[in-house]
Subunit: 202 residues, 2 copies
Amino acid sequence: MYRLYDYLPSGNGYKVRLTLRYLALPYEVVEVDIKQGASRTPEFLAMNPNGRIPVLDVPGRGLLAESHAIISYLGKGSSLVPDDSWDEALMWQWMCFEQYNLEPAIGTARFWLRSQRRTAEELGERLTEKLNAGRAALEVLEKGLSGRNFLVGDFYSLADIALYAYTHVAPEAGIDLHPYPAIRSWIRNIESERRWAPITSR
Amino acid sequence: MYRLYDYLPSGNGYKVRLTLRYLALPYEVVEVDIKQGASRTPEFLAMNPNGRIPVLDVPGRGLLAESHAIISYLGKGSSLVPDDSWDEALMWQWMCFEQYNLEPAIGTARFWLRSQRRTAEELGERLTEKLNAGRAALEVLEKGLSGRNFLVGDFYSLADIALYAYTHVAPEAGIDLHPYPAIRSWIRNIESERRWAPITSR
């Protein structure tokens, strides 16, 4: 059985859990309390020298880190990865955009506010920068979703899972999703997919 | 013929140029002076709403952004992408690590210092943070390369191209590579690959 080292409020871990659930792959979760430094212990660093969750233990193969590497490994050959190579490239385009532009902004601001319980006053300009970057990323996503049900082709793919994870919790980072109607409609599409579950579900 | 919208000192653009050259795919370069805002004009934003180079115009298909999406599209089916799905997952693990941990640190510090010609004094703590994050990423890379010629399997792959691009110019960001012998040896391996060319080559 797959073993997932994860921190349940993490959007990156959630991407893996959504993918495992969608594909009906049995797995167990080992919780790693990143707030308490549990991903920086010598034991954890021996599993992932980068000191981050999620890490997936794949029976017979080994340990795999990085949420998008994990979901693409799990999703290979399934309906979550487009057959057409151009569509697959567009899927990765969105997933790379998420890791570079969306997650570092929205995910980090959310972590500071929600997990570390720091305040906007205390964070000051650093938070403002993150929120501005998060809104800029959401503008790009809103444009990409205009007139579409899903990000690539017209079907649910890893790109949707990857971008949804932090987008739908943007309000927890202090970003109102009201100005983004295409994003809100896409969130509803994803949440009506089979085997969807909320972010902190195991 | 492929048309690449690029800024020649960019490590992200360089990844695409190295891949195109390695695969002997003919291409032309359209230079975009990102220092002068040329990637934020209405014309450029119509091509890539995220306002970033590189963008590849693929005849008969369209425009593709994000360096790793582009190189994986180009490299599909070639020797640069492992046949084995686990090795392919490890390739993506390194490529995701690069986009999240290495490039934002080393690439950004290098851009501030080299392209924007800002000084360490002027940048202060923001530069220190980037350099610390850059050195932490290099530590992870050094561990990953220990006892190996290349990052995945024992052959040159997209992971090597993707990680090499900003690693080999770390000195331009003010990071000395002397403490990383495995990285230095790996850089020599890559620079002896066929069709290698320096970063600002068209």
